[in-house]
Subunit: 350 residues, 2 copies
């Protein structure tokens, strides 16, 4: 209630200077058809009274918000450590440079996610949306398309689904393929896979990368070597245990993100496996943390920060109504080899 002590409006400037609101507005906006003396007088008054245009009124008037929306499940613990931070940093930087703000809607566990979308998007709070972690039959995408809100997606549609929207994704399939091949080259034959949850669109790409690598090496794909995890440490931990119980002869594990790889390593070490020596583990993402794990994690790097930046750089023209040429971008990954993948033949001291 003790708000707005110094809230100055055009009307106040008008009263102070004696000019009309229109003239004030035009003077401040830099229009040429304002007497230079008048302008100076107005600018001085605006300065004195600490005038700051009401952005909400501007938004209503202009039907533009200079804001990008991002709807994320902050309550999802994988948020706090993993992918989203880096992505947000890239988004924030690029948005800031373009004088855009970022509106974050954090859906709480009980809520319907679509409610957030309807409120933010349908409520005209943003000019465009960045959507992350695509899902099968993603109704968010269907909604955004229906209402015509500019959007860009981090991650393609799942294989076999229509993918006629702008996105940036990395080639998960090739990335996981490379990681699996790396393990195979090191001599591993019993290789488990910890996938993301099945509803996530890229899960199938990663599964395929793994399956292909096995096929390339003449190994058979055993479904019981594959489990799903929750993309957090706990998922990797439990997944590793499950696989270890099923297959005590397991010697390697492909994990579909770094957090799960870290959790898996913990379980493996608890089970007495020598990760980095006789047991191999790979991750995906290359989070900062992964460089400092014990042993340092061999992982499939994706340029998350850069992706965040480019998402914005792609979204802004769409918002401005300029059709893009390059609208679907598939980035390569890079296998970062550290020390978490040993050879199957013990090489300690070799």
């Amino acid at each position: 209630m003790y708000d707005d002590i110094s809230m100055t409006r055009l009307k106040d400037l008008s009263q102070k200077t004696g000019f009309s609101i229109t003239t004030i507005s035009r003077a401040l906006a830099g229009y040429a058809d304002v007497n230079e003396q008048t302008r100076q007088q107005i600018i001085r008054a605006a300065h004195e009274m600490g005038y700051q245009p009401n952005e909400v009124a501007r938004q209503l008037r202009a039907q533009r918000t200079q804001t990008i929306g991002l709807i994320i499940p902050t309550h999802d613990h994988s948020f706090s450590e993993g992918f989203f931070n880096q992505l947000l940093r890239g988004i924030g930087d690029a948005a800031g440079e373009a004088r855009f703000d970022v509106l974050i809607s954090a859906r709480s566990p009980g809520d319907d996610e679509m409610d957030s979308y309807r409120r933010i998007v349908g409520g005209n709070r943003v000019d465009g949306i960045i959507l992350a972690r695509t899902r099968y039959q993603d109704e968010r995408i269907a909604y955004l398309r229906k209402v015509g809100m500019p959007f860009i997606v981090s991650g393609r549609a799942a294989p076999g689904e229509d993918c006629d929207f702008p996105y940036i994704d990395v080639d998960s399939q090739a990335g996981i393929h490379e990681a699996a091949i790396h393990l195979i080259r090191l001599g591993h034959r019993q290789i488990g896979l910890i996938l993301p949850p099945p509803e996530i669109a890229y899960t199938e790409f990663r599964r395929r990368g793994y399956a292909e690598a096995l096929a390339d090496a003449g190994l058979t794909y055993a479904p019981d070597l594959v489990v799903h995890g929750d993309l957090m440490r706990s998922g990797g931990y439990q997944g590793a245990i499950t696989l270890l119980e099923r297959h005590p002869d397991l010697t390697a594990l492909v994990c579909c993100n770094d957090l799960m790889a870290l959790g898996a390593m913990q379980a493996l070490q608890m089970y007495g496996r020598a990760v980095g020596d006789t047991f191999g583990v790979t991750g995906f993402d290359d989070l900062p943390i992964s460089e400092h794990s014990n042993p340092p994690l061999t992982t499939v790097r994706q340029p998350i920060y850069e992706i965040g930046r480019r998402l914005v750089e792609l979204l802004l023209p769409v918002i401005a109504g300029q059709p893009l040429q390059e609208t679907q971008i598939l980035l390569p990954t890079e296998l970062v080899i550290r020390e978490s993948c040993g050879a199957i033949s013990s090489r300690r001291g070799a």
Copy 2:
């Protein structure tokens, strides 16, 4: 330009149903003085046409935005790994539960930070602000106070400055004191300190905690055992090297956040110091990463996520005009002892 395909307004519902805008508005808002049949008819129409109230118009009308502002330097690399993520997660969760969104303004390197404040705050884009990482003579606080925008601060004013605003902080001084005492008890006498940048308000609290601990143990405070770092790994790395060059007999290092401690450990190990054995290192924050460093970091834990939540919980009543009782909260820290602090006498194999 191909926007707003399905943008329905009250006016459209009015045309469709034949009722006035007022009645539509009141029916949808659940007012009792609307004929129940009318209401049903209106609700059905709203549903059919996918009506979603324009939040910007509502904001302008109500002079409230249901939004909390957070202005952060995403370009600051410490953002992506450190304190802010966790804080943001806490803020996001608590805000989401209260149906508030979070507006993030990411100032780019070149910009004047105060411009962001003026635009967001003076522009009425938010109902309240969360301000993090207080500085000396913090002009942001002066500004928020001047314009009467509700705000709450993560971190007190620096010692000796007025601190008549609501905040949540941890007792840095006691925390660092405890860490330093821990090292002293383990036999360390030559203990370095890597502080945050001098302009940060809590820097002096942490310096005092260190100085006090030395005094308690009858050790003298040597200014050349103290350096400032940038709160990132690089700062810890460089700080450790500086101190090591100055004092080759150094056996322990108190670092004012975990990231710097991690960087310092790297430098120390490069210089052949046995961190966790003959050399002791402590951090501050207890980031998830610190549990998994090598060796695992002994650190002063602060409940960052919880702080984020409580910041929102404190801010909301202020926004609602309810004066708070407890307005300045000082939380205790907790020393989490892991393996990065050895005793000065070699105990390898002891």
